[in-house]
């Protein structure tokens, strides 16, 4: 039997030691009326080679592309070979949460390095050890914001990733918070400042913007921070394309109180949306309001540098019904991928980010010749919106040439029918762009 090593002799010996006749006797507490009451209608177990065939067949049902211009919160980037090889050492991936620091220094140190890298990238003081994904990190950040300000309206810009807004909505309804949406400016693609003014009422705790936003457009974050702070409100910046941190002014330098987002771009495949990891960083002032695991540096009993899970009084296992979050895990293995990725890229992360920008700008300009005008005027990072002749036809035609054309925005924003969100990363070659252009 796969994965259960007991021989008949083992079982018999063990039952004898326990002092029962059959394994079923150990279940005497289970009422008869529910014990083995219904048959389990399951197929027979399969050998490893049969499982491999069945699962590979499923994998092959997904369309594969020569080039994919899909982004929108999950990005195709090159992953240096060492990232997967090292992160998937089984001492790491088969370990539990590092509760026993003496034999978990490897995982604890990797998280400490992660925290260091994320605070440096965001220019903020404090971060946790990572969270489920960017969307839930945003929802947890919204709870923090309401808790800090003791106010119950959360504003979110409509050009924030629709998946994130949906999750925010779910969490806010459960907690009894009100989520209000701030429209975007149709010309620039940025947050509509005039509409924001109107919505900044007394009961507002703060605002979540995304920069680069869902349309790839870089927001004027500094201006928005100033606006919110002038009214004693907080601002959270969502970042779904973590690579943008390589080139854009970091949230902390723009006065942002909370930076949240998705780290998948740092060394993880898109994998239908997960696992990636959420990050959440803030200023020193709100360190003890952070949900989730945090690793701290300390010493062992011989004065040697050591690491341990810390500030645990914030967490559910101690605070129980007073805890503001129930989260008790992180995406440690994904955070480890990101640490190895960021160590590999090092200062070249900036160059890579710039390359993404330059290549996407190049492609956007090339598409003008195809009579696909750019929709939004404000600068973008590595994604942009264009108006096509007919999205459905374009997507279909390019798919036939094994090119994923982009995200059909009409599905998500009715006012953007026949608009396409196109992402260009370093994985897109000049040939890929020419193929695209030649088939529209």
């Amino acid at each position: 039997m796969p994965y259960i090593p007991h021989t008949q002799t083992d079982t018999a010996d063990m039952l004898k030691t326990i002092g029962v006749n059959a394994i079923e006797d150990l279940f005497s507490a289970v009422p008869d009326s529910i014990f083995l009451k219904n048959d389990f209608k399951l197929p027979p177990g399969l050998s490893e080679q049969d499982v491999k065939r069945v699962v590979t067949t499923m994998a092959n049902k997904n369309k594969t592309y020569q080039a994919s211009f899909l982004g929108g919160g999950m990005y195709h980037h090159h992953i240096p070979a060492q990232v997967h090889h090292l992160a998937m050492r089984s001492e790491f991936y088969t370990a539990y949460t590092p509760y026993q620091p003496e034999i978990s220094q490897g995982i604890l140190q990797s998280i400490f390095e992660y925290q260091t890298m994320m605070t440096r990238l965001t220019a903020l003081d404090a971060t946790n050890a990572s969270m489920y994904d960017g969307a839930t990190a945003t929802a947890e950040a919204a709870f923090m914001l309401a808790d800090i300000t003791q106010k119950n309206i959360i504003l979110v810009a409509s050009n924030v990733n629709p998946q994130y807004r949906a999750v925010l909505q779910t969490y806010c309804i459960a907690k009894g918070l009100t989520l209000q949406t701030v429209p975007f400016d149709q010309a620039s693609g940025r947050v509509d400042i005039n509409q924001l003014e109107v919505l900044l009422t007394d009961a507002v705790a703060g605002l979540f913007i995304q920069s680069p936003n869902f349309f790839g457009v870089v927001e004027d974050v500094k201006y928005l921070s100033g606006k919110l702070h002038a009214k004693n409100k907080l601002i959270g910046q969502i970042i779904t394309e973590a690579l943008s941190l390589g080139i854009l002014t970091p949230p902390g330098d723009n006065g942002v109180d909370l930076a949240v987002g998705e780290g998948q771009s740092f060394g993880l495949p898109v994998s239908a949306g997960g696992p990636g990891f959420g990050f959440l960083a803030t200023t020193q002032k709100y360190l003890r309001k952070l949900p989730g695991r945090i690793v701290g540096q300390t010493e062992d009993n011989q004065g040697r540098r050591a690491y341990v899970l810390t500030l645990q009084a914030r967490e559910q296992h101690i605070r129980r019904e007073k805890a503001s979050s129930n989260i008790c895990s992180n995406q440690a293995l994904c955070a480890l991928h990101s640490v190895i990725y960021l160590a590999s890229l090092g200062k070249k992360l900036r160059e890579l980010a710039l390359l993404n920008h330059q290549h996407s700008l190049y492609f956007q300009k090339a598409l003008i010749a195809k009579k696909w005008p750019r929709t939004f005027s404000a600068p973008f990072f590595n994604e942009f919106v264009v108006k096509t002749s007919n999205n459905a036809a374009v997507i279909q035609k390019l798919a036939e040439h094994n090119i994923a054309a982009g995200i059909d925005l009409g599905r998500l924003y009715p006012e953007l029918k026949d608009h396409l969100l196109i992402c260009v990363t370093e994985l897109i070659s000049q040939d890929d762009m020419e193929n695209y252009e030649n088939n529209i």
């Binding site: 039997m1 029962v20 997904n62 260091t116 960017g134 296992h317 605070r319």
Partner: protein, 480 residues
């Protein structure tokens, strides 16, 4: 082995060194103004080999199931089959983009659908979602569904969640996230829910009871059917925390117990690795009365096609982005396909056999607070060792010197000095015997040479770590 103090990757930086080469530029125009660009990027400068050596060294300072027996109670540290990893890494899965049209990611949807169908069969529920990312996330999803259920039934005044005193801390924290009050229901002397106290707590403000089955002291609550009836007679719901499902997998269907909804951890019962704290996988199953409230989107099968549901009018909405931790679901399905019917029906049996075997071998050496046959885990305490000033912490740390991961300690809270051992079904009799021999030896050491335990561990990369210092002067990043 002499363990050297590890540098951080930042201390290995040599300016100008690099581990990557970027593709060549095809264009030079830049649209982002200088004022929107960051200053210096302070990341390590190291070579590829520097990185390989550094993280390999860190891996040697970690301990996984592959390194040795990991009897961490409540965590179900079973073997993580290698084939799971291979399947999850197939490029057809890892390159599938979540914004692609559903017709282009039929394989993704099929994996989710087949996993759902398997879980429906083993739990007996009609409604399922794989969107939650972790156990606590599944709990939150379920409590949100209970809230939505009562709101849509015009019974929004219900605002109390009942929680046994043996529960994981996530239960009350989850209730709080949904704005519910919590009332604690005490356990009786045998470790079961105190039925009289449950009666006292029930009234028309009660949303439901969050019950871990088997419970955290490793017992199957023999009154489960009574408990479910009391809840239902009160118009309340019974939620099952499925963290301990492994004990009854293939033996009891939770829906048959009168459970209305539950969560499952794919990374416990269904063999996906814990990854040092994640990524995990959650699942929520429910009876038909609650299916309208499941998170959107639902994966359905229509003829030969897999689709997402359109009807989400009563849904609580999304609880995370896209298709969840999809890579984890592939691993779980791979395991399910390997087990099949016969394998599934053995999991709970052998998990329980192993735990009772450990209990039988150790009960003379360590105090057992509850006498009934245990389920998948057995709880001891340090009562017998207190005479020698040896605590549960000391026993746990001494185990490290023998190459074992310690059991869960000081949980559940209702057992002072708890030592909770969960062997799982994937461990052999020889492994359990060796472990029990070591535990018996430690019990002997506690009598004869307690300082050996009090000063343990000696052989690990670092000694006992000062967590008080860490919390008083938090240093949570390297350098300035």
């Amino acid at each position: 082995m002499i363990w050297k103090t590890m540098k951080t990757i930042f201390e290995k930086t040599v300016p100008g060194r690099s581990a990557v080469q970027l593709p060549s530029l095809i264009a030079n125009d830049i649209e982002i103004e200088n004022s929107q660009q960051r200053g210096e990027l302070n990341l390590p400068e190291v070579s590829e080999l520097d990185i390989v050596r550094h993280y390999t060294a860190l891996s040697k300072r970690a301990f996984g199931v592959d390194d040795g027996f990991y009897p961490l109670g409540s965590c179900t540290m079973k073997y993580n089959p290698k084939i799971n990893e291979d399947m999850s890494g197939l490029s057809g899965f890892s390159n599938a983009h979540p914004w692609d049209q559903t017709k282009n990611i039929q394989g993704v949807l099929e994996v989710i659908y087949r996993t759902q169908e398997y879980l429906k069969e083993v739990t007996g529920f009609t409604g399922v979602t794989l969107q939650p990312t972790a156990g606590a996330h599944g709990e939150l999803t379920a409590v949100m569904m209970m809230q939505a259920y009562y709101r849509s039934h015009g019974d929004a005044k219900r605002n109390v969640i009942l929680i046994p005193d043996s529960a994981h801390g996530t239960n009350p924290a989850t209730a709080n996230m949904c704005g519910f009050k919590t009332v604690t229901v005490p356990s009786d002397k045998d470790g079961y829910v105190d039925l009289a106290k449950l009666d006292e707590a029930l009234n028309d403000s009660v949303v439901g009871l969050m019950l871990t089955i088997p419970n955290t002291v490793g017992l199957f609550d023999k009154n489960i059917l009574d408990i479910a009836k009391k809840l239902h007679d009160n118009g309340s719901l019974l939620y099952m925390d499925g963290a301990n499902l492994n004990a009854i997998l293939g033996l009891v269907k939770p829906a048959d117990m009168g459970v209305d909804l539950m969560h499952i951890n794919l990374h416990k019962t269904f063999s996906t690795p814990h990854g040092g704290g994640g990524p995990g996988g959650g699942f929520v199953g429910c009876v038909s009365a609650l299916t309208p409230y499941l998170p959107a989107d639902q994966v359905m099968k229509n003829g030969a096609d897999y689709q997402l549901t359109a009807d989400t009018a009563n849904s609580i909405g999304r609880v995370r982005s896209f298709y969840s931790n999809f890579g984890v679901i592939v691993r779980a399905l791979t395991y399910m396909l390997r087990l099949g019917k016969t394998g599934t029906e053995r999991v709970g049996r052998y998990a329980v056999l192993n735990a009772n075997y450990v209990k039988a071998r150790l009960h003379e050496h360590f105090d057992v607070p509850f006498q009934a046959h245990c389920m998948h885990e057995v709880v001891f305490n340090d009562t017998k060792q207190q005479a020698y000033h040896v605590t549960t912490m000391d026993i746990a740390k001494r185990l490290l010197d023998f190459g074992y991961h310690p059991p869960t300690i000081y949980f559940p809270l209702i057992v002072p000095g708890a030592l909770m051992i969960e062997p799982t079904e994937t461990e052999s009799k020889e492994t359990l015997d060796e472990f029990c021999d070591v535990m018996i030896n430690i019990a002997k050491e506690a009598q004869e040479n307690p300082s050996l335990l009090q000063s343990a561990p000696q052989l690990t990369p670092v000694g006992r770590v000062d967590s008080v210092k860490a919390a008083r002067q938090p240093i949570i990043k390297y350098g300035a």
